[in-house]
């Protein structure tokens, strides 16, 4: 454009005006330069984003374990379908299930540290043994009180301190109350870890357990698989299961009837072990249900029934008292 103008128009004066012109334009140039740089970086970013979900595949592994050659056209189609699938998973994952308000009740009197919830959870979400979306803690409220086991998932707070601080909407609360993490958005600043008073969040410090096997899977924000290095992961209340009318992985895995899970809007919770369905309000009222550290104002959506009338006396690694090492605690419930 400018060249054409110069060719057709009159030549500009170049002597004493030149510098002034130059200086005048300096601001514009700097501004334009910044804009162009930003644009270029963004385009690079966008491109990166677009090519990210799928690398070039030459051989494809079929379901029965056969290697197959796939033509490029098919391949491209497959890529597109993965992308659309992924967008769809993102869309519904961010939206949540209308009219639901998930709630969990954990009966501490039944927990005996079987840790099947932890194993099931780590299996479903492809986590390493030291990574816990749900963690069974050994707790003691005061010096002379009896220790007990306390499974601790994410509490999916109604006033979540973690989503408050997220700079990029990577962790968010859906309309059904689940606090999710989008690891395609997460920048890995770990502010949410710092903000969560319940230590419910983990970070992929190194390559996730199955990142190699999972790398071609479409990202399901409701399962947070494939997990990604440098991003956060957390308990998702097994949002993928809930969509299919199934109870969460941990709830189903418990052999001792510890977990109840349900919809507050239906006022019922279902026990994952016995499949017994009971009124939530009644269960909480009759058993003295409470939430952890409710004085922080986080409004947790996981309720506990106190560890009374226990089936099993507390025992951990042969000891019936809390290990002094475990007393690195901030003081149990208070």
């Amino acid at each position: 454009m400018e060249e054409t103008n110069n060719l057709s128009g009159k030549p500009q004066k170049e002597d004493q005006n030149a510098r002034r012109q130059f200086l005048k334009k300096l601001g514009l140039v700097v501004g334009a330069g910044a804009a162009v740089t930003a644009g270029a970086v963004y385009m690079g970013y966008d491109h990166e984003n677009k090519k990210n979900p799928e690398g070039k595949k030459i051989r494809v592994l079929t379901a029965d374990g056969q290697l197959m050659e796939v033509s490029e056209a098919e391949l491209l189609q497959a890529e597109n379908s993965v992308e659309t699938e992924e967008t769809e998973l993102q869309r519904r994952g961010r939206e949540g299930i209308p009219g639901k308000h998930w709630v969990m009740v954990i009966d501490l009197s039944k927990c005996r540290n079987a840790r099947m919830c932890m194993a099931a959870c780590q299996g479903a979400h492809h986590l390493r043994p030291e990574q816990h979306h749900i963690n069974v803690l050994r707790m003691q409220d005061a010096e002379h009180t009896e220790p007990y086991f306390m499974p601790k998932p994410c509490y999916h707070c109604d006033n979540p301190p973690c989503t408050k601080v997220c700079p990029v909407d990577a962790t968010f609360k859906r309309q059904d109350g689940i606090v999710l993490i989008d690891n395609q958005r997460c920048i890995g600043c770990r502010f949410c870890i710092a903000a969560c008073p319940y230590s419910a969040r983990i970070f992929h410090w190194i390559e996730p357990l199955k990142s190699e096997e999972d790398k071609d899977l479409p990202y399901d924000v409701e399962l947070n698989v494939p997990q990604r290095k440098g991003t956060i992961s957390k308990c998702l209340f097994s949002a993928d299961c809930l969509r299919d009318g199934e109870l969460p992985y941990c709830v189903r895995a418990c052999p001792n009837g510890v977990y109840y899970f349900g919809d507050l809007n239906e006022d019922v919770v279902t026990n994952g072990t016995t499949r017994e369905t009971v009124r939530f309000s009644e269960l909480i009222r009759k058993n003295g249900g409470y939430t952890v550290l409710e004085e922080l104002g986080t409004k947790p959506q996981v309720y506990y029934l106190p560890p009374k009338n226990r089936l099993f006396p507390y025992q951990y690694e042969g000891k019936t008292t809390l290990d002094p090492d475990d007393s690195r605690i901030g003081g149990g419930r208070g």
């Binding site: 510098r19 200086l23 301190p161 408050k164 890995g188 710092a194 410090w205 690195r328 208070g334």
Partner: protein, 447 residues
């Protein structure tokens, strides 16, 4: 103004001396290449460390799920803190019409700009996904203190740059006139920057007015960068960070670190750049007094920050405070509080101690203490969450920085030094025109 005007002849000779003294480092630079080489070496080592971190993930650091913010965030807080001094010296003291800051104002601004710029880079080093940095702008949540922090740090860098550049306009004209034999690219910079400076009264007026506007503008911005930085902690529910005085506590601490950094830089420029006539014992005396003042305020905030919770010993804070006072962190804690804050402050109360040599070492101590203090604010709190840390490897309970983290701490420090080196190499470290003006040189000659 109480400046006694000099006659044109006197003016000429005084200006000539000032120009000669202040512009000498631009052409005489013993050991400059060696220094740059050293910084480059630190950059290469740091760059390699960062490459490893990018390749293997943040797992190469000692940070884990519980102590998930470590030295990098400590560095960030330290860098932001140190950068605040630019605002304090050239704005607060400047607007109060305090004269003795003229020769150190540019030093303070260089420190401010260098630390603020690198603070932004330090925070990227801490990110798990630096490739997604743009998400902060594309998907920014205005509710997040990080977005506020990014905004105010960027703004502060911009204003600091302007505050550094504006007084450089007359100086660029001077350099252009005095040193026409400098390399072409360098001359181009002065050419661009002097903006047709002719020492006209209206030009003086524009520059002075603009500088005053920026000096006022930078005060709230500077206060907010460190206040927002403190909110990264205070906005959480963690016992130990959950404090209402974190903003002023951080800001007062920032001035301590910054004042110490300025004293160190003053010492260096005085002796290395042979500027003893300009940065005198009087200036050190004054800066010593400033350091005492800001340290006293900081000590007062420390008392509030530690004594009040310790008096109550709330369950949640108990373990944290015990670890600080007599446990794992006790040595570092008392070293920073007593050795690097209380003792230097007490010593500097005595005029005898406010001499360049002693002040240099005390300032180094204060600055090191300031850095450790940031680590002590960031790390230990995370090791005592409300709920116990269990079923994780032993390494999750502790935090001992790895070699990578140390290398990536030296990288931004070298970066800061590099920026200061470059600025001090390209431009006089003091505003020539302002000093000349204070000595009574005829203003219209300063071009």
């Amino acid at each position: 103004m109480s400046v006694n005007k000099l006659s044109p002849e006197e003016s000429r000779s005084v200006l000539n001396k000032i120009e000669t003294d202040l512009l000498r480092p631009l052409t005489h630079h013993k050991g400059f290449e060696l220094w740059i080489l050293f910084l480059a070496l630190v950059f290469i080592v740091g760059g390699y460390a960062y490459f490893i971190q990018l390749r293997d993930g943040l797992g190469v650091t000692a940070m884990r799920d519980y102590t998930s913010w470590g030295m990098y965030i400590g560095n960030f807080v330290f860098f932001v803190a140190t950068s605040l001094i630019g605002m304090f010296i050239s704005s607060v003291l400047g607007l109060l019409k305090i004269k003795w800051i003229t020769p150190i104002s540019r030093i303070a601004e260089m420190i401010a700009l260098a630390f603020a710029m690198w603070a932004g880079i330090v925070i990227v080093i801490d990110m798990g996904r630096p490739d997604r940095l743009l998400n902060v702008f594309l998907h920014g949540r205005f509710q997040s203190p990080i977005v506020w922090d990014v905004t105010v740090v960027t703004t502060y860098v911009a204003i600091s740059t302007l505050l550094l550049l504006l007084p450089l306009i007359p100086d660029a004209a001077i350099v252009r006139r005095r040193l026409p034999d400098l390399p072409k690219w360098q001359m181009k910079i002065y050419d661009l920057l002097h903006l047709g400076w002719e020492a006209r009264p209206d030009q003086y007026q524009t520059i002075r007015r603009s500088m005053r506007i920026l000096a006022i503008l930078i005060i709230p911005v500077a206060l907010s960068i460190h206040t927002v930085t403190s909110w990264l902690f205070a906005a959480t529910l963690r016992a130990g960070w959950d404090s209402t005085i974190f903003g002023p506590y951080f800001v007062s601490g920032a001035f301590v670190a910054g004042a110490a950094a300025v004293i160190i830089a003053m010492y260096f420029f005085r002796y290395n750049y042979k500027l003893g006539d300009y940065i005198t014992d009087f200036h050190f005396n004054r800066m010593g007094q400033v350091l005492v003042l800001v340290s006293a305020v900081y000590i007062y905030f420390n008392l509030n920050e530690y004594f009040v919770p310790a008096y109550k010993m709330r369950t949640a804070e108990q373990l944290h405070l015990h670890e600080m006072f007599q446990g794992h962190w006790a040595f570092l804690f008392w070293f920073t509080q007593i050795g690097c804050l209380a003792i230097p402050t007490l010593l500097l109360i005595f005029k005898r101690m406010r001499k360049p040599g002693i002040m240099l070492w005390l300032s180094v101590l204060v600055l090191i203490g300031a850095w450790f203090k940031r680590l002590l604010i960031v790390v230990p709190v995370q090791q005592h969450p409300y709920l116990p840390i269990q079923n994780v490897p032993e390494s999750f309970h502790h935090y001992v920085p790895t070699g990578i983290e140390i290398m990536l701490t030296f990288l931004p420090i070298a970066g800061v030094l590099l920026i200061i080196t470059i600025i001090a190499k390209l431009f006089p470290v003091m505003p020539v025109w302002e000093i000349a003006h204070e000595k009574g040189v005829d203003e219209s000659m300063i071009k």
